[in-house]
Structures are given as C-alpha cells and as structure tokens.
Symmetry: C2
Subunit: 120 residues, 2 copies
C-alpha cells in the first residue's frame, strides 16, 4: 500500500478531494479535485475534476497515478502562475505613476489642511 506515499511524491502545493461512489458491485466512479486556496484568482475554480467514471476498481488502481501525473503537475503550475500574476499586477499597481500621483496628492492635501489650521 503506497497510495499516500505516491500522493506525497507528487510534491504539488494544494489539497486533494477524492470522492468515491460505488456504482455497481465491482464498479465505481472516482472524482479527484485538486485545489489551491492560496491562489487568489477565482478562475482556478473552473479547472474540472479528473473523473474515472464507472470503472472496475482494478482498472482505476492501474491508471490512477499515471493519469494524475499527466494532469495535476500542470494544474499546480497554473495555480501558481495565476497567483504570481495577481501578485505582480498588484505590485505594478502600487508602483504605477497613477498610484504614486494619488499618494503625492493625499500628502499635499494633508499639508494644506495643516497650513489652514495654523492660519488663524
């Protein structure tokens, strides 16, 4: 039994939700959702689950990690890129002329206020 060791060996950042429903005796449907709540982009929710539909248990055992390995690392990379993109965009906004302008304007307004208070 090395199921969890195989999951661990994938070394991807995120959580797994695995649902198993016995459809008929000997057959089952398994869906695997991989998610990363650290990714702030809600588009991550559009990534569909990986589904093994109405298959014999041995068949799922045979292909489970091969199938997971063919999609999940890329999904994990996508989540990470999405989050990186959001952080970079935030950073860009902070350093933009527009934001710097706003801050300068706020500072000026405060100075003006103080000046007006001192006048009388």
């Amino acid at each position: 039994m090395d199921f969890f060791q195989n999951i661990n060996a994938m070394q991807v950042q995120g959580d797994w939700i695995i649902c198993i429903r016995q459809s008929k005796p000997e057959r089952m449907t398994v869906s695997v959702v991989f998610k990363n709540d650290n990714c702030g982009d809600t588009a991550r929710k559009m990534v569909p689950p990986l589904v093994f539909s109405d298959k014999v248990a041995a068949e799922i055992d045979g292909s489970f990690f091969a199938d997971l390995n063919s999609v999940i690392p890329d999904t994990a990379k996508l989540f990470s890129s999405m989050e990186h993109y959001l952080k970079q965009r935030e950073e860009a906004q902070k350093h933009s002329q527009m934001e710097t302008g706003k801050i300068e304007q706020q500072k000026k307004q405060q100075v003006d206020k103080l000046k007006n208070m001192k006048k009388p």
Copy 2:
C-alpha cells in the same frame, strides 16, 4: 497499487470523501468521511470523519485500511439500521388506529358532503 480494490472489498453501501492536505513536506492530514444519502435520518451527519492528523505518508499507508475496517463497517450498519428504523416507523404509522381513524373520518366527511349536495 490496490487502494480502490481495497475500498471495493469493504462492500459497504455509501460514498467516500477523502481529503488530503500536505501539512509539511513528507507529512499530511487525511480525513475520511463515509456517508449514505439513502439514509433519511439526519443524525447520520453527526458521525465524525476519520482523521489521520499530521502523519508521515508511509504511516498512513500502513494503518489506513486497518483503521477503516475497524470503524466503517459499523458505521455502514448504523446508517442501514437508522434507515430501517425510519421505514418501519413510517409503516407503523400508516397502519395505526390513529391513521385508519383519520381515513375513515375523511371518507365519512366526503359522503356527508355528497349527501348535502343532493338534498336541495
């Protein structure tokens, strides 16, 4: 790899939801919820998940099915008994004097109504 074959071998009526969260490298927390939506008693939701908290993957692999086998079959039996109890109670109510009385009364009322309609 025989994870899903082991699940299948348990031959219990219900669905499984397995959540896996990597807590630290090499360590993970796994929770297993076993549920049966065919059971109409909402008390079934009070059965807690089985949790393997912050353990090394190999440790979980080592004890997963032994632990599952020690609790899940009884849970499945409980769900089945709950549902059986509800069905029997429903059946008992249907055949009770109270219900039979109600039906007799409704019939009488309808006959009375018809009689009153015919009078004029």
